[in-house]
């Protein structure tokens, strides 16, 4: 079943239109990757889906129109985002960051259980449970950001360049966590990246984004097979 469907999505900042009518979709249980260079519009797409920008066109989630929905309604509907640059709350403790992620939930018991769960998955966060998030390293903050997004038990997880500024080892660790969640729990993911290598291995499907338009889409195998695409966009 189609989880997220965007048709003719346009968005921008003031007089500058970045997205020029995108069509994309994410099926339930898919791990979709969007690749694109700097300035292609990846972050704009993420922000548009989460309702942080005003957008034109049409976005549907689980069949419900969310084109005009407010950011908090979109979170309640089941979409959570790990924004670019971590987006942690630096003055709040690790634990408070996680509590904030669960803001839309009313079940205190479940929230406590989930906090315990994510601290187990990311032991480094457990060690720093009461520390201010701003004092964590880049990798730890990224883990925190992912855990925070997952605290709302989303149906669709949006990830905006999680590897940015991180050492390769950490990045691999993160990706394996995401892959694990996708495989074991059927979490649907839409992930945008500049780094093609890592993402291609996990992706069910890939979109290529260039200056606000989708220029190619297909499975990772299909795109790798096409020589011109491979050389121009995937760099190998």
């Amino acid at each position: 079943m189609t989880l997220l469907k965007a048709t003719g999505l346009s968005a921008g900042y003031g007089p500058v239109t970045v997205l020029q009518g995108l069509d994309l979709e994410v099926q339930q249980g898919e791990f979709v990757v969007m690749l694109g260079a700097n300035g292609a519009g990846k972050t704009t797409t993420m922000r548009a889906i989460s309702g942080l920008l005003s957008r034109q066109g049409h976005i549907e989630f689980e069949g419900v129109d969310i084109t005009k929905a407010s950011p908090d309604a979109i979170v309640r509907a089941g979409i959570a985002q790990v924004p670019q640059g971590r987006g942690t709350f630096p003055e709040l403790s690790v634990e408070d960051n996680l509590h904030t992620g669960a803001f839309v939930r009313a079940d205190a018991e479940g929230v406590r259980d989930d906090i315990a769960r994510w601290l187990a998955v990311f032991p480094r966060l457990a060690e720093r449970r009461h520390q201010r998030a701003g004092s964590l390293s880049g990798g730890e903050q990224q883990m925190l950001a992912i855990a925070r997004a997952l605290m709302s038990r989303p149906k669709l997880l949006l990830c905006d360049e999680p590897s940015l500024g991180l050492a390769p080892l950490i990045t691999q660790e993160l990706f394996s966590v995401l892959e694990g969640l996708h495989r074991d729990e059927g979490l649907s993911v839409l992930l945008v990246e500049q780094n093609a290598n890592l993402a291609m291995h996990i992706a069910s499907r890939v979109y290529l984004l260039e200056t606000g338009r989708i220029v190619a889409s297909g499975s990772a195998a299909e795109l790798s097979a096409d020589d011109s695409i491979r050389k121009a966009y995937l760099g190998f």
Partner: protein, 308 residues
């Protein structure tokens, strides 16, 4: 020695009012990043209302709570109608709007209640003096070791400390408090967590104004009357307190307020030639300047690294 104690206690009670104004300033600043220049005048407006409630026979404590309610409405309405639409343009425009609000509220007070001090029998006031929250008769005091500790002064201090405690609980133990802290820390991530940031901003302003209203009522009670100029200097002292404590630290605001109250009172008491009554504001000015030059983030604030 007794005199020192006396001055200390008096300083703490005046400082309590500064602390209240500073708290309001800090809550708004933390939540929205703006300095509410009209904080003092909002407080004054509510203090006038409480006078009016008194004229209608309402006892002071209920009247004060009603006044805080008026403040809450005023603050939240201001945020929604005036600040939010303008904040998109520039911080300077917001600043100008708060200056305009400052002038408007002061004018409105005069327009509604006139420019003499109230209560005033010449105007037909029912009350003799502005009501105080605590027993205020000349004999309502303890007299240990020759020091006069008036019930009123202690009461105010206790009230402010209790309020501070309640706010601490609100910020740290409630979901709403968490949302306030989250919005103050990273408003976009707060949105991504499902927090309705607009609502949080509105409530921040409302809360700040309500606290300010309490400050206005207390100040008027200490002063014996409410008049148009009541909150000018208090606003400056409150700003000095917020600067000293750190504009993003509510606890710092309270400590800053009490400190400044004490410093100011001790300075004017012990150096009447140099400070006296005339130059009390000079103390506030020096404090603001010194803090901003030495440690701009204040005693308890967090230093912000400016990213270019």
């Amino acid at each position: 020695m007794a005199l020192f104690f006396q001055r200390l206690v008096d300083g703490l009670s005046y400082g309590s009012v500064y602390a209240l104004i500073a708290l309001g300033l800090v809550i708004v600043y933390r939540g929205t990043g703006h300095l509410n220049f009209a904080q003092g005048e909002m407080a004054l407006f509510c203090a006038y209302f409480v006078y009016q409630f008194g004229e209608w026979g309402i006892p002071i404590w209920p009247a004060m709570l009603l006044g805080m309610g008026v403040g809450f409405l005023l603050g939240s309405a201001t945020e929604v109608t005036l600040i939010r639409p303008i904040a998109r343009r520039s911080p300077f425009a917001v600043f100008i709007v708060t200056i305009g609000l400052f002038t408007f509220l002061n004018w409105l007070d005069g327009a509604i209640w006139g420019n003499q001090q109230l209560p005033n029998s010449g105007v037909g006031s029912e009350q003799l003096t502005y009501p105080s929250l605590f027993p205020n008769d000349p004999q309502d005091q303890w007299l240990p070791f020759g020091v006069s500790i008036r019930y009123e002064r202690v009461g105010i201090l206790v009230l402010v400390l209790v309020l501070t405690g309640l706010l601490f609980l609100l910020f740290n133990k409630t979901k709403f408090g968490l949302s306030m802290r989250a919005v103050a820390s990273n408003s976009e991530s707060a949105k991504l967590s499902g927090i309705r940031t607009n609502r949080v901003l509105m409530m921040s302003w409302g809360l700040a104004a309500a606290i300010g209203a309490l400050g206005g009522v207390v100040q008027a009670g200490l002063n014996g009357n409410v008049n148009l100029g009541l909150m000018f200097t208090v606003f400056i002292y409150g700003s000095a307190a917020a600067t000293l404590g750190g504009f993003d630290s509510p606890g710092g605001a309270v400590i800053g307020g009490l400190l400044i109250g004490v410093i100011e009172n001790l300075a004017s008491g012990y150096a009447p030639q140099w400070v006296g009554q005339e130059m009390k504001l000079g103390v506030a000015f020096i404090v603001i300047l010194a803090v901003l030059l030495v440690k701009p983030s204040g005693l308890f604030g967090t230093a912000k690294v400016e990213r270019v």
